[in-house]
Subunit: 359 residues, 2 copies
């Protein structure tokens, strides 16, 4: 049944599960922290609800619990990293740290990653830059659920992009979004409630407009940001393509329709051209461009101006990217994280399997 759980409770449980599948203590801690950052920030689809999915990938022998994450090629400002089939939750922070270290040395760092798996929320990795007074960038490809403009085939993942930008007294600017009109998690919410989607989220197997929240199960596809050609869906398609190329063609991971699926029961694509899934990370030191104190004053001015803009009737105010998530984080750290009954059931079963009771 539905319930609300403290961060500490969920942390201990998830960490125990990661230990059970063979992660060492440091890897189990990192994976847990990244995974639960989604629950804290209100991105429920990418948090502990996915723990079962990661375990299934491990059962399918697609996850290496203690990967040897290595740099296979580098210059002073770039690196290509082999994730050695590790959990993306572990590979991604290690790769982002390499980007940050390079930025410390030469102003910026850019890391493309192959042979990884799903990395949780992109925002977590981008935000690692903030404490270093750097701008952070994180993106990843994912298995194909999205049809490019004019295509009836699914060729791209929801391929998110996150950008985190430091500020002064204001909360930092944290943008983190799928390059589709709607992320898959939003469809799942409508499915549970038996509701139709708004126009422009999905198309049928043949490529016709649909409002059926279950359309993906019928062979349909998600639509790129922009929805249709009249509203510039080619721009969303371009964005998703750029993420795919930076993450996978640059690193040697799989791309386009060949990206391995997250659900372990879905068969792997045939003729895969690379290794695992791909990510891309960037870090730029603010003071590689101008003094950080100066930048932060102007960022605060930027944020303040947007926050106080005149709004459309009925709307409270213009939101700054990352604000709703930061509010979730405060609220959920204080009052706990609500879990849907199906998630509680999954975790309970998982706990039994690994002799690690949930609750």
């Amino acid at each position: 049944m539905e319930g609300t759980y403290s961060y500490q409770q969920l942390y201990q449980f998830a960490k125990n599960i990661f230990l059970q599948i063979g992660c060492n203590d440091a890897n189990a801690e990192t994976a847990t922290k990244v995974l639960l950052s989604a629950d804290l920030r209100g991105v429920d689809s990418h948090g502990i609800a996915r723990l079962v999915g990661y375990v299934r990938l491990w059962e399918a022998e697609r996850i290496n619990a203690n990967p040897n994450i290595s740099i296979v090629h580098e210059t002073p400002s770039t690196a290509t990293v082999d994730g050695d089939k590790g959990l993306g939750l572990v590979v991604a922070p290690a790769a982002m740290q390499i980007a940050i270290d390079k930025a410390k040395n030469v102003g910026s760092g850019w890391v493309s990653v192959k042979n990884s798996n799903h990395f949780g929320i992109a925002g977590y990795h981008a935000m690692m830059a903030l404490d270093n007074d750097m701008i952070g960038i994180a993106m990843t490809n994912a298995s194909a659920l999205v049809a490019p403009t004019f295509s009836s085939e699914k060729l791209l993942g929801t391929n998110p992009i996150a950008v985190a930008i430091p500020s002064g007294n204001e909360a930092p600017f944290v943008s983190d979004f799928a390059t589709t009109t709607a992320a898959n998690g939003k469809l799942e919410i409508l499915q549970r409630k038996n509701l139709d989607t708004p126009n422009g989220w999905v198309q049928t197997k043949e490529g016709f407009p649909s409002n059926n929240a279950n359309e993906l199960k019928n062979g349909g596809a998600l639509l790129p940001l922009g929805s249709d050609r009249d509203r510039s869906s080619h721009k969303g398609y371009n964005l998703g393509a750029i993420v795919d190329i930076f993450s996978a063609v640059l690193s040697g991971a799989n791309y386009g329709p060949w990206v391995p699926p997250f659900p372990a029961y879905v068969p792997m694509p045939e003729g895969m051209p690379g290794e695992g899934i791909g990510h891309f990370f960037g870090a730029m030191r603010i003071d590689a461009f101008r003094p950080a104190s100066e930048f932060k004053l102007h960022m605060d001015k930027w944020i303040h101006r947007f926050k106080t803009a005149k709004t459309v009737e009925d709307h409270q105010r213009v939101l700054i990217p990352g604000e709703p998530e930061a509010e979730f984080e405060i609220e959920r750290k204080a009052n706990g994280i609500p879990l849907h009954e199906s998630v509680v059931a999954d975790l309970t079963e998982l706990g039994k399997k690994f002799d690690t009771p949930f609750n």
Copy 2:
């Protein structure tokens, strides 16, 4: 009256005009080449049709014909450039060249520019990277025409992003788009034809949906990519904001509603926090990640797979970013560039003023 003109004809005319406003020969050549690359690629709104606009900015003493473009701050992989009030058409290629040179040395180069003006099409600058086997990135802010999600005020420009990626035998991948549902040039076409816009392009002064192609003149606004909250306009708003911050908050240019307008007759915003408009450029050497030959094989495979995807009924095929523009370029180099009668009239008048007959 309407007519079709050879590239050489337009090149000579535009170069002469730039010489007349005091550009030295090298600057006049660069400005002309960048400006006309828009006409060649079919982006008519950003080409020679804007020559009059640049001249008016010069008349208003907002343009320095021979700027002293200088690096004011740098690290091995980054630089901040002061455009010295130059034509963006001249400042941008110089700044992109700095990014490319840095990439040659340390793998990647990233340049934020202040004190510049409009730089033509973003794609031109990004494509400078291609001949160097580099990925090129170019973006710019622009005067505020766009209302963020929930805002009735215009706070962002159409803030385009261009990304150019080398390929092998296939044409390169060149994405270049405004972060709005529709660029202003598309509205102008509808205005001339007295047609309504599709849903999701513009809103009224109060922030209500509209289909009036003249809505901007009534105090209305363009909408961010995504159109409305149901179709994730906050993602287009985020993208436009990121372009604004990378281009201007990082460099010390004006941002948000304070970006100087392109039309010289529009008064400058009050209380401007920076200098001129801002751009941001990036260059990444392919072989800073993996051997270029390997990358190009996979890029060709990527492009081929997308090109040959099954399409939605009635659609020829899935387009690769930059393909339509490359086709325009071949066609227009061979058969000339068609100009609208109002553009011909503007250029004829401009020619008279500067004793440089058009035609």
